[in-house]
Each structure stands twice: as C-alpha cells, then as structure tokens.
Symmetry: C2
Subunit: 313 residues, 2 copies
C-alpha cells in the first residue's frame, strides 16, 4: 500500500515511547509534533525538555533508565556550576548541555525553533520528522495552593508536591501552529495523541492558536492512547492532578477531555470495563496492553493504534 | 613590615605561574590584571582564555599538564557538539564550559566582566584579586601573510603557523582601564609584568586607553620578567613572532619593548651576558633561574621579582 502519513502529538517520556514505536513502523512518514509548554531558560540557555526527550528517543540515544537525558551522560559541568554557588536542581548532563548551548546559539542567529529542532534531530540520526507545535514561546504555568509556578519549578524543583488548582498556557492564545505543523496535519492519514499527561503535555499544544478547532475539523481519524491504566498514571503526576482537580483518575476521564476532537480511544485491557462508557462518548474504543517496557512493546502499541485508525502500513 | 601591595599584569599560562608564586607570598595583597585581547565568542558564549587560566591557576584547579583548562576535565559536551556537526577546534572541557555558560549568563544580566570575574574566582577559592584590564571588548587581531586573523583563529585553529606581520588591538584605544584597575595601580607598592608574550598578552593591555602612559607616570617600581630564555620562548610563539617581525628573539629584545615603562628587568642566569645591554637601556637587571616547573620554582621567581622591586614582604 501507499505510504501512510501519521502525525503524533506528544509530550515527554510517555510520548517518546509511542513515537519510537511509530517510527519503527513508519520511518520518515512519521511526523512528531512536540509540546513546548515546559520550555524554559536556565543560565540564558533555552531548554526544551519535551522536544529533547523526543529527539534523544527517536535518535536512539536516550537514557533508558530515566527516559529523559542522554544515555551515559556525565554531570561535570553541573558540578562546576554548583561550585560557583549556583542552584542545580535541574539535572543537566554534559552532552545534554551541548544541545542547549547549540540550540540557544542557533536561535540567537535567527533560526526558528522548527529549523533548530530539525537540524539537531537530523544530525543525531532521528528518522521521523520532529516539529515543535509552534515557534512562539508558550509557557505552562501551574496554579497551585501555594500560588502560580513556572512548570519546571513545579515539576522538577518542587517535585509535583504542591496541590494543583489549574493551569495557564501563557502565550498559547497568541501563538500559531507553524506552517510545517499545518501542512503535516493537512496531509496526515491519521493523527495520534500520545499517552502523555493531558493537562501539561497535550493541552498546551491544543491551546496553541486554533489547534483544537483544526483537529476537530480534520477529516483524517484522530486517535488518543490512554496515559492512565487502572486508575493510575504509568509515570508522572497525571493521576494526582485529576484527583487534585476533583475528578477520579481513569482512562475514561482522559477520553472525556479529548472527546470533541478524537474518533477512537486506545485503553488498556485492564480497563476493558470502561469500554461502554467510552463508546457512549461517541468514540470507537480499542483495548490492548498499553505498557511499553521495550522496543517490542512500543511497536505493538504503535501498531494497535494504527489499526484503530484503520491506516495500518 | 606593612602589607606589600603588588599588581601583576599577566597573560595566560606563563603569567599564571608567576601569579601563583606571588599569591603564595602575598595572598590577598596581590592583584592580578588579566589580558582580555584573546577573548572571543563561541556558540554565543563569552570565553576569556587568559582570565580563565589565571583563575584556575590561582584557585589551584588548573590542569598541570597543559597549563590551561581544569584538572581532570572531561569533554562530553564537545563530543556532542561534534556529533551535531559543529567544528570543535577549541578544546572546551565540560567544567570549563560551565564557566563560560555562567559568565555569559551573568554578563547578559548586566554584570560587568570585572564583577563576573571576581564572583567566579572568589567562588573557586582564588585568594588574589583577579581583574580584567577593561570591561570593554578588546580583540587582538593577528596580521599574517595570509590576511588578518582573529586571535583564537591564529592561535588555536591555525596553531600559530601563519607568518606574523603585525598586530591590531581592536577596541583598545576606545577602551578604558576599569576603576578597579586604576585604584590598584595607584595604591600599588610595585607593578610586575609577567613573563607572558609581549605581543599578544602584555601589549593588548598596554594598548587599553592610557595604560602605557599611566605605567610610565607611576612612582612605584615597575619590573618585567623575561618570557625568553636563551633566545627561545619557554612556551608559545613569542620567539617565532620576533623572528617573523625581523628581530632576533632575546630577553634584550623584550626589555627594549618595555624600556619606557619599567625600572627593572628580571632575566635568566643563562642570559647573564645580556646584563650590560639591558643596563644600557637605563634599567636595573636582575638574573635568576626563571624556569618555574613547580610551586617552589614559582615562589622563587616571585620572590626574586619582589626583591628586584625592593618590596620584599
């Protein structure tokens, strides 16, 4: 059959796994659109944690222990920054630091983040195309019991401890999806929403300009994969956030957040009892083992997702 | 006796050795004024090779093999930059990179280079005070047979191979010594010119504003230490530069370049035959073993230099 063009909307570690699985199946025909809401500046360097996790994973150099950072990276520069009296709560490896130094230099030369990302990912050997959802700055702000926090302040420094009351995506309304993202969506045979945190990975992307409306209007199928299995998140604070916002964490609760834009929802076999409720939202429900412990697991989830979209390559 | 305040004008590796020797004798009463003519920008980072060599040496963390860089430093970030297709002719260690990242961040926040340098050197544990000669950008340009080159381009990338025709210190005439340098000179009991390369380490400092005239007018003694022994440089291209400029390299040739501003000249015992010629320039000549292979050697040369200035602590 003809090449199947798929666009994946993804956050960090969870999104990177299905990205890598889809890359196994689709290669260059996969376009990964990454969240930029958790981007921030540290020592004048522009750091894009989600794009970097996606890039390192797609290039096969990600740290398999953590899911983020570069495999085998060292921390000599960070040790020196501590010696200079700097706070070093963000774990910045030496190889990872090189990424931020070069990205910042290229941005200062006037490159768009899209161009920088394509260059870095290409040099590292990623086969899929990696795009930031927008070239404009979007910054996720976490509204907590203790006030509003910048995302990395909440996520890394405070270790997600403050109770969440809501989120704000500063700059998102004024931002626009890039022409590259628009083109990829227009020519996609299917769009997949990764099993990423809906609140801080996926929704900052949906909040960029008219992204949500575009996905709604798309004729190609849109499929989301659950980040919640058995009422708990595979990784990260998704379940905790649902609870703090007064909702029981479940795959169904995730499906509800995307119901206006998706056609099908992939949930875990362990949550098969939720299928009728998902279908009652007007969605096709597909169950599978959604855990991705190894490359084979990633490939399996990717394949089931494409089957759910009826675009198996 | 009372505290003896000494100002040392120094370039990189050779200057750092006598700086460390003087620090052994004088501690906080030593002010080291460093050359900024070899500063440059790489990946948007401001790199100050001479200040860094002085700082690392004064703090006791310099690489004893090379004289520059940090002892035991690793090169993971540089390897990653190479992987991204960047040219990596400048050997940037991971700990060293942290210095440049932090310096650049502080400069962007509006700190003066003087403030940044004091902060970094203080945090690392240098006891002597380290000052850039100026906060303004000064850039040494090397005029060669093959055209004009930026200093690091000549020194590191081209390994000093192009034949030298002259030098230009871009920005030096418009630059001014900092208030801190002015104050240190005004209150100094002696000023020492380190055994650094006269062309590209010392003269870029003398070219800053009216520095040369100030040293000439100073009532405190000014003493220079030879970087040339037996017609050859201890390290670096000093002798080669003299030859390419049509002059026989010798301690005497160095003494001549400083004759208008110094009172005494320290030359090596091996060059004792040059003493009458140095004295004919109107200078006091002092001979000693000027080689500094270890901390004891550095201390010895520092002590002889202070004796020559008649300001032994």
């Amino acid at each position: 059959m003809a090449e199947v063009r798929v666009v994946l909307l993804a956050g960090g570690v969870g999104g990177a796994k299905v990205a890598e699985g889809l890359q196994q199946l689709l290669g260059e025909a996969l376009t990964v659109v990454g969240n930029v809401g958790d981007d921030f500046e540290l020592w004048g360097l522009t750091i894009c944690p989600d794009l970097d996790t996606l890039m390192y994973t797609l290039a096969g150099v990600a740290n398999p222990e953590t899911g983020w950072g570069v495999a085998g990276d060292t921390f000599a520069a960070l040790g020196m920054l501590a010696r200079y009296g700097e706070e070093v709560w963000f774990r910045l490896g030496d190889q990872d630091l090189a990424t931020h130094v070069l990205r910042t230099a290229l941005l200062r030369r006037g490159w768009r983040l899209t161009e920088v990302t394509a260059h870095l990912a290409g040099q590292l050997g990623a086969r899929a195309r990696l795009l930031p959802v927008t070239d404009a700055p979007v910054r996720t702000r976490v509204i907590t019991d203790g006030g509003e926090l910048a995302f990395q302040e909440y996520f890394v420094r405070r270790k997600c401890r403050p109770a969440v009351r809501g989120f704000r995506f500063a700059g998102a309304a004024e931002a626009r999806p890039t022409p590259e993202v628009s083109d990829a969506l227009m020519s996609a045979d299917a769009v997949v929403i990764a099993p990423s945190n809906p609140f801080v990975s996926v929704e900052p992307m949906l909040a960029v300009g008219d992204m949500r409306a575009r996905l709604h209007a798309l004729s190609a199928p849109v499929i989301a994969v659950t980040p919640i299995v058995g009422g708990e998140a595979i990784k990260g604070p998704t379940a905790k956030m649902f609870r703090e916002l007064g909702e029981k964490p479940s795959a169904l609760a995730v499906a509800r957040r995307y119901a206006d834009i998706i056609d099908a929802f992939v949930l875990d076999t362990r949550d098969a009892h939720l299928v009728p409720a998902v279908e009652a939202l007007g969605l096709r429900a597909v169950t599978t083992d959604t855990l991705m412990f190894d490359p084979e697991g990633r490939r399996r989830v990717a394949l089931v997702t494409l089957e759910a979209a009826e675009v198996v390559p």
